[in-house]
């Protein structure tokens, strides 16, 4: 429904200030960013530079102190709490660093969780979940619970859960930080394929050079400000 000329994410003059005791800390200041359909971009920069803060604001988990966050042309500040909740459910996929999953649910049920929240019919849910689990390479592991899977497999389930709803963008905060090198490469292969074949838009935050090397676009932050935004 979105033409590629409309940005999926638009941050306009964003500042996010935390008050710590007496002092104000600008986690992010005067930050502008556009993410387009099909991007495979990463935020990088030293620890504390504001990467997570930016992702959280795009994911409507946090609000800027000033500035506008728009998702598919919709300014988030105009949405009610339940609309925000529905927006996260329908338009945004999340992959966190680790412990992404609901421990009592199987791989299948975790991937199904958001579809169920959306009220998708069980038969359709089943088809879509089986399809996506196959896509992320978890065929046959549907009934495993998180504690019966490796870290890499758990991250695959998280990716499956994030993409099964066909969101506008998948936000992944350091998705490779807690897995070994080979697993990181495999996860990146997977996400790259999803990006290439299905056009899934990704925005990462990372310290991981492998992620930076594979990204089509690298956005550098320093002290909460944009340092560079490079297509590669």
């Amino acid at each position: 429904m979105n033409q590629s000329n409309q940005p999926i994410v638009q941050l306009t003059d964003i500042t996010r200030t935390y008050i710590q005791g007496e002092i104000e800390v600008n986690a992010v200041s005067n930050f502008n960013l556009e993410i387009k359909q099909g991007d495979f971009a990463t935020l990088c920069g030293p620890s504390g530079s504001g990467k997570t803060t930016v992702l959280n604001m795009i994911g409507a988990l946090d609000e800027p102190t000033s500035g506008i966050v728009s998702i598919e042309g919709q300014s988030l500040s105009e949405l009610s709490r339940s609309e925000i909740s529905a927006l996260r459910r329908d338009r945004i996929g999340f992959v966190f660093q680790s412990y992404n999953l609901i421990p009592v649910l199987t791989a299948y049920e975790n991937a199904e969780f958001v579809l169920a929240l959306q009220g998708v019919k069980p038969a359709e849910r089943h088809d879509r979940v089986m399809q996506v689990l196959k896509e992320v390479g978890l065929e046959g592991l549907e009934n495993r619970r998180p504690d019966e899977m490796s870290g890499g497999q758990q991250q695959r389930v998280a990716i499956a859960r994030a993409i099964v709803t066909r969101p506008a963008i998948v936000l992944a905060d350091e998705p490779t930080a807690n897995v070994d090198s080979a697993t990181a490469e495999a996860l990146l292969d997977l996400m790259q394929e999803l990006n290439k074949n299905d056009g899934v838009t990704f925005l990462f935050s990372t310290h991981d050079q492998r992620v930076i090397d594979r990204a089509k676009r690298v956005i550098h932050l320093r002290d909460g400000q944009l340092e560079s935004d490079v297509l590669q």
């Binding site: 997570t52 996260r88 992404n100 421990p103 009592v104 929240l117």
Partner: protein, 414 residues
């Protein structure tokens, strides 16, 4: 959404904690059933026993007789009203009686006491404790005859035996002192000293003549019903049916105040101790649920991040408390059923303890030394809903805490 299934699974994440809490709920069910069940049984037992001591579950009488009994407060048309009452559903018996005071004398001694003048055709041991307790002789069968039934203690005091003569004196409706001679046709022994020493049964028509009552006048109609809980309902029904300002219909709660007071006090202590037990258990449930919530803040953060609305999260925790209540109830039924069955079929025998305490009576009423149990339907409903309400209320705060989860905060820590 399969919130229910998720809640059920969450409940078993910490099996030990859930089982311990379930066990504490089941203990509450056990105590509650025991307290309530012995009460339901014991009160009914006492009320029914008391009803057969003269005043019934419901009494129809001349206005004011209950407050200050006197011979000029007389119920007219008693037989006709009785005929009507006896046809009503739930009424198992109704009988016309005259009650009064008299002096009873033998050749050697005299004692004061009360008489209950009865119609031997409509009385039976089912509704009259004294008839039930006859140990010698038989109830007189002539209502106009000279028979009298006295208690064992009075017989002893007056040094009288079965078949001997006894003289009683009372005042008639004109205030004149009148005397009669009667012959002892039976002696009863109820075990209650105040009954065995001071109550007698007399034939009603003879007493009517002595007192100057007409053939259809009496002190009261005593009504016995199959379920004591319906006494007040029947009282109201009879009041409307009889519809006479000179007549009063009273329930056992009004005519047997001592018993009513005793039961009220007992019920209240019983109820309060159950509330206390309930609060202790509720604190345990709250603790379990709250711990469960506090351990899962990251998980809640993720669920909210991926679009679970706070209301659904709230429901999830409430459902967890709901399932905890179900688990507790099932465990409760498992441990309570055998105990309930035992009390129902066998009962606890307090005979020795009662003997040491010197009797089987409380509030002037005989009580069964073997304690049984019985649960009224409304008590079962009360216990079940009590458990659910307590558990669900205990779930409110943890549920609220869960909803307060801030995804950003919880996701920051890995």
């Amino acid at each position: 959404m399969q919130l229910n299934r998720l809640a059920w699974k969450n409940l078993w994440r910490n099996k030990r904690r859930t089982l311990i809490t379930g066990f504490s709920i089941s203990l509450g069910v056990f105590l509650s059933v025991t307290f309530t069940g012995t009460g339901d049984y014991g009160y009914t037992n006492m009320i029914d026993a008391s009803a057969t001591m003269g005043l019934g579950h419901v009494t129809v009488e001349a206005k004011g007789f209950n407050e200050t009994p006197s011979l000029d407060k007389r119920l007219k048309n008693s037989e006709k009203i009785r005929e009507q009452i006896i046809t009503l559903p739930n009424v198992s018996d109704a009988t016309v009686r005259i009650m009064g005071q008299a002096m009873f004398a033998s050749a050697s001694k005299s004692v004061g006491g009360s008489f209950l003048a009865i119609n031997s055709a409509t009385e039976s041991e089912k509704i009259n404790l004294m008839i039930r307790a006859i140990v010698e002789g038989e109830l007189f069968d002539e209502n106009d005859g000279r028979g009298i039934v006295i208690g064992s203690i009075m017989a002893e005091k007056l040094k009288l035996k079965l078949g001997k003569k006894i003289v009683y004196t009372t005042t008639d409706i004109n205030g004149e002192i009148v005397g009669e001679v009667a012959r002892i046709s039976a002696i009863f022994k109820t075990g209650l000293d105040e009954v065995d020493g001071a109550m007698v049964l007399l034939p009603i028509d003879r007493v009517r003549k002595t007192l100057g009552y007409t053939a259809d006048e009496s002190s009261m109609i005593t009504v016995i019903i199959s379920d004591q809980r319906r006494a007040e309902e029947l009282r109201d029904q009879l009041t409307t049916m009889i519809n006479d300002p000179e007549t009063e219909v009273l329930s056992w709660q009004q005519t047997q105040r001592d018993l009513t007071g005793l039961i009220t006090i007992d019920k209240t202590t019983n109820y309060l101790s159950q509330v206390l037990v309930g609060l202790v258990i509720a604190a345990g449930i709250l603790n379990t649920l709250l711990m469960g919530v506090m351990e899962r803040t990251r998980e809640f953060g993720i669920m909210m991040a991926v679009g679970m609305p706070p209301s659904a999260l709230f429901r999830l925790v409430i459902l967890e408390s709901f399932w905890l209540a179900i688990v507790g109830l099932i465990m409760g039924v498992m441990i309570t059923a055998p105990w309930y069955w035992y009390l129902l079929e066998v009962g606890l025998d307090f005979t020795e303890m009662f003997e040491e305490m010197g009797g089987y009576s409380a509030g002037g009423v005989l009580i069964d030394p073997i304690m049984h149990i019985r649960l009224f339907k409304e008590s079962i409903i009360a216990i079940l809903s009590g458990v659910f309400i307590l558990t669900l209320i205990s779930g409110l705060y943890p549920a609220w805490r869960a909803v307060k989860t801030n995804p950003v905060e919880t996701l920051k820590t890995i």
